[in-house]
Symmetry: C2
Subunit: 402 residues, 2 copies
Amino acid sequence: MNFGFVCRSCGQRQSFRPGPSTCSCGGTLLVEYDLERAGRTLTKESLKHRVSSMWRYRELLPVQHEDHIISLGEGWSPLIRMHQAERLLPVGKLWVKREEQNPTGSFKSRGFSAALSIARAHGIKKVAVNSNGNAASALAAYAAYAGMEAYVFVPRDCPGLIVEECVQYGAHTCLVDGFIHDAGKIISDGQQVQGWYNVGTLKEPGRAEGKKTMGLELAEQLNWKLPDVIIYPTGGGSGVIGMWNAFQQLKQLGFINGDLPRMVSVQEAGCQPLVDSMAGSGEFKPQVKHVISSPTGMRVPNPPDGHLILSILQESGGTAVAVTREEIQQAGAAYGRLGISASPEGAATLAGLTRLLDQSWIRPDDEVVLFNTSHAVKYLPWKPASSLPVVKTYQDWLQAVK
Amino acid sequence: MNFGFVCRSCGQRQSFRPGPSTCSCGGTLLVEYDLERAGRTLTKESLKHRVSSMWRYRELLPVQHEDHIISLGEGWSPLIRMHQAERLLPVGKLWVKREEQNPTGSFKSRGFSAALSIARAHGIKKVAVNSNGNAASALAAYAAYAGMEAYVFVPRDCPGLIVEECVQYGAHTCLVDGFIHDAGKIISDGQQVQGWYNVGTLKEPGRAEGKKTMGLELAEQLNWKLPDVIIYPTGGGSGVIGMWNAFQQLKQLGFINGDLPRMVSVQEAGCQPLVDSMAGSGEFKPQVKHVISSPTGMRVPNPPDGHLILSILQESGGTAVAVTREEIQQAGAAYGRLGISASPEGAATLAGLTRLLDQSWIRPDDEVVLFNTSHAVKYLPWKPASSLPVVKTYQDWLQAVK
């Protein structure tokens, strides 16, 4: 095999397998590739002839046989230059990576294409995820396409249209009276008995690897010259982890050189563990105080590997910034007027840009890339017609589905 | 210039210009290219190195200077093989062209990218469209990105989420108490005084040319071997016209040969002028009887050039098929279970396939392509919060905006 695990804490190497990507020492296991071997077929020239999906980087994804790939046309999303915004803002170049053009209308498609391809390769048939919404609908779609059974657990205040998507894709959909980690607890409590393969954030290797392709694409689309700053809405953070990983691999492959981008995580004020940790001791601490932010993908008070995210922000010379609900709304409206339908998470990156320009943290000649992770319309208030169970615990769920 | 007009009725040639693409004889003006010249740079090999948008076919689009192109990342949408469905249905190969992955969540992005690029090339600043929804939101987005002012007129029962998109993109949005042609009347009554550039179906050359790229892509994605059958949801029909045009041009360029696909138009029962005309005299007649179908893109009782659509269906050995609202709903649910979020129009193509399989019109070894033109969620019932004017006539509109 061209790939295996390496623990980012203790450095131990292990052979690749599906399931928990946590080392016995507690560290996160990252997928490591034989880059010398990968580089024999993966070249800048060879990429010009490849599929227009994230699977163009096959040598850097942990799926061995083409037959196992579950693809609905994810990735290779457009990178659009924002000429009008450049005239309004003191920034060198401004780009938007349009992740809302993925098959399920969000960047989450990437992770599940990879995760379920790995699952298929290992004969897995039943998958479960906890999510703030878009990960649930993406899992639902990919599982449907792959003929797997999907169980999704989302906070009860999760956007109704996204919940409806899960229902339409035929997933067993359950609302949770709590946050994303409460939903995760239900899965971990039930997974052994129920036979669920847990595809929650960093619970298996595929999702971060799939998200990694955002970084690979960015480099290729900018002709192997990365931008100065990447602004990314951060919840569980597998996008930050994945992209940073991508850049390391591209460096080792000799595809890029020089400084890497300053990575910026944007969070909504009221759920900002990264922002607080960055401003505090510089050590990651989950948010213990009451969460008061909106139900979006950024609302993750205790990300599975906050330490890793924070260390990436620090190593890159980046930062974390909190923006208010009102700033997000204003940025969403501004985005619309520029022709882009931006989800609250996507709009938060524009709000973050404005903040960082005000602070002169971003310089007038910086090249900046924003990630628009989903469509605005998916977040409009809507109530699913079907009556869905609302539960607090795994025992509740057992009762509800009896 | 590499392109000009030719009248499809009288054959007269004219130089290219924006605005009404109707000949003095009443025929539709088609854009004609110097294909010998185009073929010098547009080759199968050169395409392998081009942008992943519809602008990869620049020589076959009527925009001369690259600077005029208004692109939000439209086209080059995935073509997905439906393996699961193939096991359930007696069909050779089944593909879905995922037009919902366009920047505005629908196939309409293509037409407006082309139409507004032409408009920009000619200094136009104010654009208007009548639409059943997705064309309106696409115009709104592209106009916003291009810094033009957009006026959109849609039937008052048009899907609320799509209306909301128009509002978010900053378009002057007006609901019309009537059908799409009533909305069109308002624009034609007002366009001279208001200075609107009318980008309604077949009112200018760009939209059909933009849609043409669906046909070009299909050929390229299937390695220059077209499928046996294309099933397309038909309202105004510029997609059928555009694709057929694409195939002729590809033939002349020597990129394809042999039989062209049988073109199938699907309409919803209750608004089925093509189906009735096909079953009747074979001459196109607009629907005069009461329209009772749902407010989707297929609800066009009197398409601007129904004769041309019908002649294409006939020439290709194709057909037109009406499916009921219930069949569309069932097909939409089935699509969801296969992992695809299909709009009613997209679902109608799957319903049409089922009908044509029942009739043995489609043969067990046929290779079939369905077009999913938009996302399912955009059609869920929703009421825009903002109070929008509702009008019947141009005079009403003048009053309403005073």
